[in-house]
């Protein structure tokens, strides 16, 4: 994803500041309390122009920090939603602009992974498929449809996508089995 695509989005703002945010709270007895919370877990709290503070001051300040942290999370969620909407709009745009079987097929190829993700979320714990598996299914469907309708232009990209994602599926399966072996070994009772 190019940086220009993210310009003026909440994610660009977060990336630009590397996720930190600052909260300032004026103290009842004068002075200011300022905290900067960094995404890597560092926190710097500064008591400015005062040597002590009340419990209420502390509570107010950290309530503001919690609120700010929630906002950051909400921004991230908003970005993901915006990206999903953009994805659907792209698929719809393809159909509207091109108005031929290939565009319908392209739109379907874009939407199939999204649909499977939604199903996966709905059937959590009963259906577990990884992103490469979903992409491989989408690519396979595209190949079948391309062969059926004689859309040769789609064959090569769909085949490459299928091959890449199948390789990923196999790779992840190997990593998974290795991890399981390590876990089982570490769980074995020691002699």
């Amino acid at each position: 994803m190019s940086p220009s695509l993210l310009t003026n989005t909440p994610l660009a703002e977060l990336a630009d500041t590397r996720g930190w945010f600052a909260v300032s709270t004026p103290l009842a007895a004068g002075g200011t309390l300022r905290s900067v919370v960094y995404v890597d877990g560092d926190v710097t709290t500064k008591l400015i122009g005062a040597r002590t503070l009340s419990a209420d001051d502390t509570a107010t300040h950290f309530a503001a920090i919690d609120q700010q942290a929630d906002l950051v999370r909400a921004r991230l969620r908003g970005f993901v939603l915006a990206l999903t909407a953009l994805w659907i709009a792209l698929a719809a745009g393809l159909v509207v602009v091109l108005r031929d079987p290939a565009s319908v097929l392209g739109a379907l190829a874009l939407l199939v992974p999204l649909g499977i993700l939604l199903v996966q979320r709905a059937l959590r714990r009963t259906l577990t498929v990884s992103a490469p598996t979903i992409a491989a299914i989408g690519a396979a469907l595209t190949i079948v449809a391309a062969l059926t309708f004689g859309l040769d232009g789609l064959l090569i990209p769909a085949s490459v996508t299928l091959a890449l994602n199948l390789a990923l599926v196999v790779g992840f399966a190997v990593v998974r089995s290795k991890l399981r072996a390590i876990l089982h070994a570490s769980n074995d009772p020691k002699e």
């Binding site: 990336a15 630009d16 500041t17 590397r18 996720g19 930190w20 600052a22 200011t32 309390l33 300022r34 905290s35 900067v36 919370v37 960094y38 995404v39 890597d40 877990g41 560092d42 926190v43 710097t44 709290t45 500064k46 008591l47 400015i48 122009g49 040597r51 002590t52 503070l53 009340s54 419990a55 502390t58 300040h61 950290f62 920090i65 919690d66 942290a69 999370r73 577990t128 498929v129 990884s130 992103a131 992840f172 990593v175 998974r176 991890l179």
Partner: protein
Amino acid sequence: MADIAGQLAELGKDLITRQVNLILATGGMSAEPMPADPVVAMRQIYRWYYDRLLGEPGSDTDNQIGSLTAAALATAFGELADGLRADSRDARRTLAGLTPPQGPTGGSAVVAASQRLVLRMRATSRDLALIAGHLAAGTELTPSERAVLRKAWEIGTDEVIMQTTISVDGDVVFRADSRYTSEAHQALFDLHDRSCASAMRTWKDVVGAAIDLVKGMLK
């Protein structure tokens, strides 16, 4: 892609240790938010270091620091880092006679920096020299460099009266200035405690997101 991978790797390194600082600041510039222009921010940080090392606030009477360019700041911070060869035995002795470069001439010997502060200034100066060098070369600062600059600004040369360092292996080191360890300063302890809780929460969010991502890939 390489840039994103590099930034993730750097973030991963940063996640290994969390540092929570409680600072008492008297006010002035250190109480202000960081200026948007990184060169302006670095000039001010250099001025703080300079004044603290010389023990004479406002000693740059000709405001020479105020006109330092990014290239001059790179040199100044670099020479400052090289000059601050504080060791754990006696920082002041090793610093005696240092005159920070690029600043007013005829500065007196270092008199007013604690050993811990000197070590902090040395490490930060090294980082800031690199950042100023990038700015001088016309390179845009990376998010990581912005964060370093931000931390340098926030901590400045103010007193860190309580500091907790939490390592990923579970080690926790807590340091407190002995002047603030009595019951009369319970409110400051509580404040630091809440800051540690915020640090843990942020860290947990980031690490949790990374674990979710890996789990999703390995399903």
